[in-house]
Symmetry: C2
Subunit: 256 residues, 2 copies
């Protein structure tokens, strides 16, 4: 049965945040992400649109989701896909309910992202957090949404393993008043020196404007990635800085 | 005088590598890059297309380049620009001749990029090298070209301060047979341990395929960015990995 016009319209609408919020779901595409999502314990699948070949080779994977599978032709997939080159399967899933683990937040490192706008940066930061076992990423309400299609694709499945929680900084600090806040700044303690605590929030700011003044005012420990040489230069990309800082947090030589 | 059709066609042709090679030049756009290029000692400007306002406020900067300035309207700039939102000025400049400094290569760290394809990654890696004072980036001949417009824009001027030299790995090793080669691999010495030398090449591979087998066979020291936890996960993005490794190279705690 060919894909109905209404269904096509519905799927396309999910490229917009407002419709993802109305339906409380999101889209992920491609064979790798599909595999991860079908194996994830915290994901409720709503629908699977896939080409015949993929359905046939993934019978075992689909065993408990058979009723949700709709076979589409390559042409139909292209009509609903947000990829330039669609990759066999498109999945719609419910946005999982994400609860923070207060014990982990109090005892380990978490990130706070203030108005990160670029979905590629957000997805890359999710991969970094996943790699370094950072379980919580808090973000300001005006940051790019984790269920933005480009974030989901760029995160390469890391969104399934890292808790992303939109919350304003002040509300988070009210919940964890004793958690020290670190932030990358031009003048601060070198990240090549041991951190001053074994847990805390690391705040990273907007790509062009950096941290909001209201957050800056609450930073306990400014930290700096030392530049080498004295020439003028641009700052590092926010995802790269996050990677370098997360590596420092997990470097046994640089912990108390 | 309005922009001639021939000139427009010529400028547009420079979005393609083959024409950049024929004319031995490249394009950079925007007020920040224009400022950096007009102040760079190693750049020969060929032409400057700019809006009236920018020309008027940058009289001093343009003093030795007046003859090269052509005023364009916003509409004309949009016709020749490769940006979605053109930013007042477009510059055409000669590709500078880049010579390696054998002394620095022998005594310091350099990067070797094998088939990096994404211009955003290449530009970000240039910024990282610039930040950490890595003076030489060697790259395979089939890597994305440094004069690709997206690389130039993503590098944010770092291309003016880092030497990018396309050369095959074997030819480079012939020139520097004693330089040890490090490479990021899944199993290797932790980057959280001191490096085994004070100079060398750090080889980074293609975004999806990693390093070529012929380079892998010549790696002296496999290094690894330790992951935290034991769950399955994707590798880090190549630019993020490069940032973490370059930070390690410059971390006083991690050097001999």
């Amino acid at each position: 049965m060919p894909l109905s016009k209404n269904k096509e319209k519905y799927i396309r609408s999910l490229s917009e945040k407002k419709y993802r919020q109305v339906y409380n779901n999101f889209i992920a595409e491609g064979t790798k992400l599909a595999y991860e999502m079908l194996n994830a314990s915290n994901i409720v699948i709503e629908a699977i649109f896939a080409q015949k070949g993929w359905i046939l080779t993934n019978k075992d994977l689909l065993i408990s989701h058979e009723a949700l599978v709709e076979e589409v032709t390559q042409k139909e997939l292209k009509q609903i896909s947000q990829l330039t080159t669609p990759n066999q399967v498109l999945i719609i899933a419910k946005q999982p309910k994400v609860n923070l683990d207060a014990n982990v937040v109090a005892k380990d490192w978490s990130l706070y992202l203030d108005r990160i706008q670029d979905p590629g940066n957000m997805g890359t930061i999710l991969r970094i957090a996943n790699w370094f076992g950072i379980q919580h990423i808090f973000c300001s309400l005006d940051s790019v949404e984790v269920y933005n299609f480009k974030v989901i694709q760029a995160s390469m499945g890391a969104f399934l393993r890292v808790k992303v929680i939109p919350i304003e900084f002040d509300a988070l600090k009210q919940q964890f008043p004793n958690l020290p806040t670190y932030a990358a700044m031009l003048k601060g303690r070198s990240v090549f020196q041991p951190m001053l605590s074994t847990s805390g929030l690391v705040a990273m700011g907007n790509e062009s404007q950096g941290l909001s003044p209201s957050i800056l005012a609450q930073v306990d420990h400014p930290i700096t990635i030392p530049a080498y040489g004295t020439h003028d230069m641009e700052s590092l990309n926010v995802a790269v800085s996050t990677g370098i800082i997360c590596a420092a947090l997990r470097n046994p030589l640089m912990n108390i």
